[in-house]
Amino acid sequence: MATRIQFENNCEIGVFSKLTNAYCLVAIGGSENFYSAFESELSDVIPVVKTSIGGTRIIGRLCVGNKNGLLLPHTTTDQELQHLRNCLPDQVVVQRIDERLSALGNCIACNDHVALTHPDLDKATEELIADVLGVEVFRQTIAGNILVGSYCAFTNRGGLVHPHTSIEDLDELSTLLQVPLVAGTVNRGSEVIAAGMTVNDWTAFCGSDTTATELSVIESVFKLREGQPAAIVDDMRKSLIDSYV
């Protein structure tokens, strides 16, 4: 179920939050609206944690994680690291990495089984990713962009990539990740998918600028619509539509 929200009048949700199947990280905003939007949807299922990373609010782009672990840049302070370790469940391994490319959210995109990384990432970091997150790591580019973490968002059920991705690239990525992929946009044509939205296996949060078309694409590719209504729509479509234009 996709929800449209804003962080302090900014539609880039993926920058200020990180959503996974096991936890949700939210930036500390001036008002509690952003946090309460997440809390109302998720608080009874997974922990929603308010945090900062290195004193900044752009936590979604700095960290990367899935249900097995969370990777943080070297700029994370000891207090923030301890706060995250205390708030997150024990199965989630919290690890700080020493890596030249410190915006891990822009360099790495992952779900619970596979990760795509920036081609220039260190070998040691790659091994740490495979170890902490428990994923298979692939060095890839998306539509010629090396920042794979920003230009695609994928979960265990589907993925959305940069709109200018060619069909061959799309097929290649689809076979690598083993999930259906769609090239699309978010927030009224923004190409930076992962910065504009955040998604897990059952919910998605998008910027309030996202059009209804974009939202329906997101809901269909990530399979967020409940099973039954979709089946009903499919059945009714044959009777409702008599000719395709």
Partner: protein, 165 residues
């Protein structure tokens, strides 16, 4: 807030002190004061500059490997907060620093002990070879007769005395 180490001299940089330099390859260099910063800008190698910790550890002047250093290592995988563990850690910290300082002092005294034994050897050799250089008065002292104590049993002497009289 974190107490960092100066890249040049390895002393602690407290908040509000020093300069941080970030190079183009994203490596951060922290300096405790302008002395270290200026030495760095002159491209001096801290391993060759006598007053730095790097030089002293490299040349064996200061203690390098010890288990007390392991306590201060930077950890990237934190543990969940436990009040008892924190309390015991806080109690242990001054003990560990005291032990580390004692060991460092011991290392330096052991290093300087070798100098003492060498000095004694040199002195003994000098006594052996150059004894004629000393004035006569001091030489006499060495050849003086030493008192020898002889133990005499009390009973025998008393008997002798009795016999004589």
């Amino acid at each position: 807030m974190r107490l960092e180490k100066c890249w040049f001299c390895s002393s602690t940089v407290y908040p509000g002190h020093g300069i941080q330099f970030v190079r183009n390859d994203a490596k951060v260099f922290r300096f405790c004061r302008s002395k270290c910063h200026k030495n760095f800008k002159m491209k001096r190698n801290p391993r060759k500059v006598k007053w730095t910790k790097a030089y002293r550890c490299l040349h064996g002047k200061d203690m390098t490997q010890d288990s007390t250093f392991e306590f201060e290592r930077k950890r990237n995988r934190p543990e969940r907060y436990d009040r008892n563990v924190t309390e015991q850690t806080l109690k242990a910290i001054p003990l560990i620093t005291k032990i580390r300082h004692e060991r460092q002092k011991k290392h330096i005294t052991n290093r300087q002990k070798q100098g003492k034994t060498k000095e004694r050897e040199r002195d003994a050799k000098e006594l052996e070879q150059d004894i004629q250089m000393l004035p006569k008065k001091d030489v006499m002292l060495s050849t003086q007769k030493t008192k020898v104590v002889v133990k005499v049993s009390q009973q025998q002497t008393e008997e002798n005395l009795m016999e004589e009289t």
